[in-house]
Amino acid sequence: MAANAARWMRRNLFATPLQGLATLALAACLGAAAAPVLDWAVLSADWSGERRTDCTGGGACWVFIGARLGQFVYGFYPEAARWRVDLAAALVVAAGLVFAVPRLSRRGTVFGVCLVVAMVAAGALLAGGAIGLPAVSSRQWGGLMLTLVITVAGLAAAFPLGVLLALGRRSDMPVVRALCVAFIELWRGVPLITVLFMASVMLPLFLPEGAEVDRLLRALIGVSLFAAAYMAEVVRGGLQAVPRGQAEAAMALGLGYWRTMASVILPQALRHVIPGLINTVIGLFKDTTLVLVIGMFDFLGVVQVALTDPEWLGFALEGYVFAGLVYWIVCFGLSRLSLAIERRGAGAARGNSL
């Protein structure tokens, strides 16, 4: 055992004198950096308490995070009504899990329907007003909850639109193709901030007098159009990977265009690009931070606001480390998921070839 470890170290760390030197230098830097970081973040840090005065250790003041955690997660949502947020989240997660149910026939349709129902119910719960619950204006939505609302709703709108755009871009009809190409390249060529500005400032101009569009809805429309363009390109890659013969066989069997797409081509195309789609999801999740620029307070936004609280000045580092950690966990988790699916898919594909 020890001999194996020694041999591994010699080959991978100390292969040549220069390599050995590099290894030692890196290890030294790592050690020198790790010690004060560990001290600040864990050993000298303060974990429990209520007020600023509880931070005496000289290290990180995690009390700050704990004290404002409610706001970080729920934004400005009234405390008494926070159960509605939890319930809405549970509904959407449950609908999401439907997708993973084994041996489900017509999985795509069932999942789609469940998701739509769950999202409508969640929306009603969050907004209130209609179903007998007190209304909570979208201005009070914030924090992690708002980030998730934008991500999920944005994706739910962007995905079908993206698929349609991808199909349109490969269409034989020049008018349809030209419109789709123009649409896709427009949204892909401009920064998301300009799209958000456009949605928040120009949308009221586009609509007739009196039509009031909720702020959040404007942001959602901007985000959805933007994400749809990127998804369209990802799906298009998948469509190109499906062999021509598939469509030909379907036509020979007498299936029409939409039926061919839905039952034969798209399932194969989408399976090819799951990693690409998940990448788009990760990108969208990170991009929700931009709504701060149009005056909405997502997760990063409420952390940023908390940093300006006079009672808690000077804890910028703690705030950003905490926010960074949360974002990192979600995004890294999603990318690992994508890798796992890719690996499983590759194995399955190999198994399927006759």
């Binding site: 041999r7 010699r10 080959r11 292969a15 040549t16």
Partner: protein, 246 residues
């Protein structure tokens, strides 16, 4: 007694849990020409790739021209300067011309001056009978021509030992002969040659010894006339009956 070109003692290698080489013991004398054959999966490629360090072995000892093979890069480079290899997939460098492919290693690893390297390259291109292709890119040549360039490239380092890993297995049938002719002609140079191949005609034409492997072991080693007419092991007999029918 002159030092053997290759000396392998009790070599074992595992790929994960698969025992690829089981106690290989082989001594190749300087100037000897050996053909290694056997069914697929028998470990013939692995054995040959151990000789120039492209595969590492887990147990045993291997020395090439007196140099013990070890894990450190300096030893490996020393060994590789005197061992040339020709691959099944040619592995020519597509972004360099034929001439540049041939000159790269002598200049960068052999310490040869550029002018002299070019002269040497053109000489070997003549030897493999395609001197006019010097300024073309590999992608513009046929498979047979590419493999001959690959042979010339290995020769440009003027190695003492030449290894061939199934040199004709990736070629279209009509191009196999031109490559085999070159190899047979090289065999007359007195260089040590170890060739993994299915082409028994090559073995008959140039081998001093045929080494037959099966399931990671050397089953039989004999001179060609003995091996082809009266193999002593049943597995060798089975193998020969399968491949010599056409």
């Amino acid at each position: 007694m002159t030092m053997p070109a290759v000396e392998m003692t009790d070599i074992h290698k595992w790929f994960g849990s698969h025992h690829a080489l089981r106690g290989i013991g082989l001594t190749v004398a300087a100037g000897e020409r050996v053909v290694v054959c056997g069914p697929s999966g028998s470990g013939k490629s692995t054995l040959v790739r151990c000789i120039n360090g492209l595969e590492t072995f887990d147990e045993g000892r291997l020395s090439v021209n007196g140099i013990e093979l070890a894990d450190d890069p300096a030893t490996l480079r020393r060994v590789r300067r005197s061992v040339g290899m020709v691959f099944q997939q040619f592995n020519l460098f597509p972004h360099l011309t034929v001439l540049e492919n041939l000159c790269l290693a002598p200049v960068r690893a052999g310490g040869v001056a550029r002018r002299e390297a070019e002269d040497r390259a053109r000489r070997y291109l003549e030897r493999v009978r395609i001197p006019e292709q010097a300024d073309k890119y590999p992608g513009q040549l046929s498979g047979g021509q590419q493999q001959r360039v690959a042979i010339a490239r290995a020769l440009c380092m003027e190695p003492a030992i030449m290894l061939f890993d199934e040199p004709t297995s990736a070629l279209d049938p009509e191009m196999i002969k031109e490559v085999l002719d070159v190899i047979v002609e090289l065999a007359g140079d007195g260089r040590t040659m170890i060739c993994v191949t299915h082409e028994m005609g090559l073995a008959r034409a140039m081998a001093d010894r045929i080494v037959f492997m099966d399931e990671g072991r050397i089953v039989e080693a004999a001179a060609p006339d003995v091996f082809f007419t009266a193999p002593s092991s049943s597995r060798a007999r089975l193998f020969l009956s399968r491949i010599l029918h056409h």
